[in-house]
């Protein structure tokens, strides 16, 4: 009542855990000895706590536990008393919930995460592959005609998805790795001893099931029923190509407007299959 603030509120003395405990104990009619007996602390420690004399008490961890037990004995809420003690711990932030990803659980053997060594190994392999690619590219101009055996050895690693369009800049690259495979009965005698007969693009052409004529330079890839690549090559303007194999054939033809395709003697219109100049179709 004596200390009135300018805004009218009354200044209260700072909240003391010890004083609050002492008052509550007196209200319940308990003596210091009773409390000491119940909490198994020495009476001097109970008195020290009520006097807020932390120097005579153990470390603050023990004091906090002491206050909690004492508050419960006196049926008080321990939270404000603990908050009034020095060194109150900071409450931890709420846990961030994250979505659970479903992972396969079929393997019974413990697995290790690929570490840095694997990353380095993968980088080396990519670098080697890039080096090989550049070397092959530099090898192209004026290269001698390749033997069928050599051409088999440089089969492209994963030729499932061909380039989206026959860009002229890429044409020379594609020509290097291009190869032609036809079925055994149509191969020339020189190549007949190979397990999968293959003839170079320059081999004498014979009329086959599929026939293509090229009005402009274009890129073609043909795969047969078993997914084998029969033909993957860039053809110059004015050339033509025939081949046989096991139907159905999957064809990807770059610059399809400049290619005339006949299958089993019938002309096939590429316009309905073309998208951005590249025709993709299957011949049954």
């Amino acid at each position: 009542m004596t200390d009135s603030q300018p805004d009218g509120s009354i200044e209260e003395p700072p909240f003391s855990a010890g004083a609050a405990l002492r008052e509550a104990r007196a209200r319940l009619g308990l003596s210091v000895a009773d409390v000491a007996h119940r909490l198994k602390f020495a009476p001097r420690q109970v008195e020290a706590l009520e006097a807020d004399d932390f120097a005579r008490l153990p470390e603050i961890t023990f004091v906090r536990g002491f206050v909690r037990s004492y508050a419960r004995l006196l049926q008080l809420d321990p939270a404000p008393l603990l908050a009034a003690l020095p060194g109150a711990p900071v409450p931890p932030p709420p846990l961030a919930a994250r979505a659970l990803e479903e992972i396969s659980f079929s393997s019974l053997s413990p697995t290790r995460k690929p570490n840095l060594a694997w990353l380095i190994a993968a980088t080396l392999i990519v670098a080697l592959a890039a080096g090989f690619f550049v070397w092959m590219r530099g090898d192209k101009p004026g290269a001698p005609p390749k033997t069928p055996k050599a051409m088999l050895a440089e089969k492209p690693p994963a030729p499932v998805q061909p380039p989206a369009s026959a860009v002229p800049g890429l044409a020379t690259v594609a020509a290097v790795t291009a190869q032609l495979q036809v079925s055994a009965h149509s191969a020339p005698p020189a190549a007949a001893t190979l397990p999968q007969s293959a003839v170079p693009a320059a081999a004498p052409r014979r009329p086959g099931t599929i026939r293509m004529e090229f009005d402009e330079e274009s890129w073609v890839e043909v795969t047969d029923r078993e997914g084998r690549i029969l033909l993957s090559q860039v053809f110059p303007r004015g050339s033509e190509q025939s081949l046989n194999g096991k139907p159905p054939f999957s064809l990807v033809i770059g610059r399809s407007s400049a290619v005339r395709l006949t299958y089993k003697g019938k002309a096939v219109d590429l316009a309905p299959h073309a998208k951005a100049g590249v025709a993709r179709l299957t011949l049954e």
């Binding site: 470390e59 023990f62 002491f66 711990p89 659970l100 990803e101 992972i103 413990p110 995460k113």
Partner: protein, 347 residues
């Protein structure tokens, strides 16, 4: 130099792989995960089909005892150690994935993981291997009493005795610590799970009713108590009547639960008394003046401190936030890993 870079990019983790709950503490972030150690596994396409993790953590715990034939909810930890190696590894992997973003430039985390002090070398090896399998770069093990003492804020490095009793889901660990080392450490395989089991057995024996683990845990949390108090509380429980075979409800009181829990509580009291007997007198005097500190989920059982106080005649205190003491202590140990390496176990 590389070690410096790795520690810069990686989030080191401290894990309390408990029987009931798994907690993860990340360096600089504090506790980032607190989930029950439960995994629900779905079997796809017949008995030989592949197994897929359906849920982990809280969602899986809600499935316990309520799953159809093709889903099994498993608690892969038992008595503080691994009971199912593969499932534990997958559970850890899932938890770590939630808190540790993996990327090309993020190395695997260093992990500090706690083990019960009574675990065998084989059990420790299993925990270490499962952490490696879950993607750890380096694994350090710390004994639970030491982690609990550090987490509770006890002066472990000083020349004074500090006693900690960590009552977990599977084990109760008792440790007396001085000068950064364990003077005594003991472990009994009694904890929250044994309390639940005791309640289930009591109700079956006295009421002829069958209740599940989840219900038993709920009873323990609601009206469980370790010391007879002035207030007797009651609770209505649903279970299956063994004689009739149909669900029935009945009312159970806190005094009955106290009676049910007497056996596991006696084991804990014996472990604490054994520890006090084995403690050198100077340290015993320190403990008598400061008291022993309770941590772990078992410390939340009503009046368990009162029971230990009456049985030992010593002050018994409950730590701040007892459920997270072990993981916080492991986190502090992780922060000081380089200069504080002696507290990690070498097994």
């Amino acid at each position: 130099m590389f070690a410096f870079l790795e520690s810069y990019f990686s989030n080191d983790l401290a894990i309390d792989l408990g029987t009931a709950n798994t907690l993860i503490w990340a360096r600089g972030q504090g506790i980032v995960l607190n989930e029950p150690s439960v995994v629900a596994i779905r079997q796809e396409g017949g008995p030989n089909g592949k197994k897929v993790i359906q849920q982990v953590g809280l969602a899986a715990k809600q499935m316990l005892g309520r799953t159809p034939g093709n889903i099994t909810a498993i608690r892969p930890m038992k008595d503080g150690v691994i009971a199912d190696f593969t499932v534990t590894e997958q559970m850890l992997k899932q938890f770590i994935r939630r808190v540790h973003k993996s990327g090309i430039f993020t190395p695997s985390p260093r992990i500090v993981i706690c083990v019960p002090c009574g675990s065998t070398q084989v059990e420790r090896r299993a925990i270490r291997e499962s952490a490696y399998g879950a993607g750890a770069r380096r694994v350090e093990l710390i004994e639970e009493p030491m982690a609990a003492a550090i987490g509770a804020g006890l002066p472990v490095e000083e020349a004074t005795g500090s006693m900690v009793v960590d009552i977990g889901g599977g084990t109760t660990e008792v440790g007396v610590i001085s000068l950064g080392g364990a003077v005594y450490s003991g472990s009994v395989r009694v904890g929250g799970d044994k309390f639940d089991e005791a309640i289930i057995n009591y109700i079956r024996r006295n009421y002829g009713m069958l209740i599940g683990e989840t219900t038993a845990e709920h009873i323990k949390k609601e009206i469980g108590s370790a010391f007879p108090g002035s207030e007797v509380r009651e609770m209505e429980v649903n279970g299956r009547n063994l004689a009739e075979g149909v669900p029935r409800s009945f009312t159970i009181s806190s005094n009955e639960i106290l009676e049910a829990l007497s056996d596991p509580l006696n084991s804990i009291v014996s472990a604490v008394k054994t520890a006090l007997e084995q403690t050198p007198p100077e340290l015993g005097a320190d403990i008598a003046s400061k008291g022993m500190v309770l941590t772990g989920g078992g410390a939340l059982l009503r009046d368990i401190d009162r029971l230990l106080m009456e049985e030992t005649g010593l002050p018994v205190l409950i730590a701040d936030d007892p459920l997270t003491c072990v993981v916080r202590g492991s986190g502090i140990a992780l922060d000081r890993m380089d200069k504080f390496s002696s507290i990690f176990t070498s097994d």
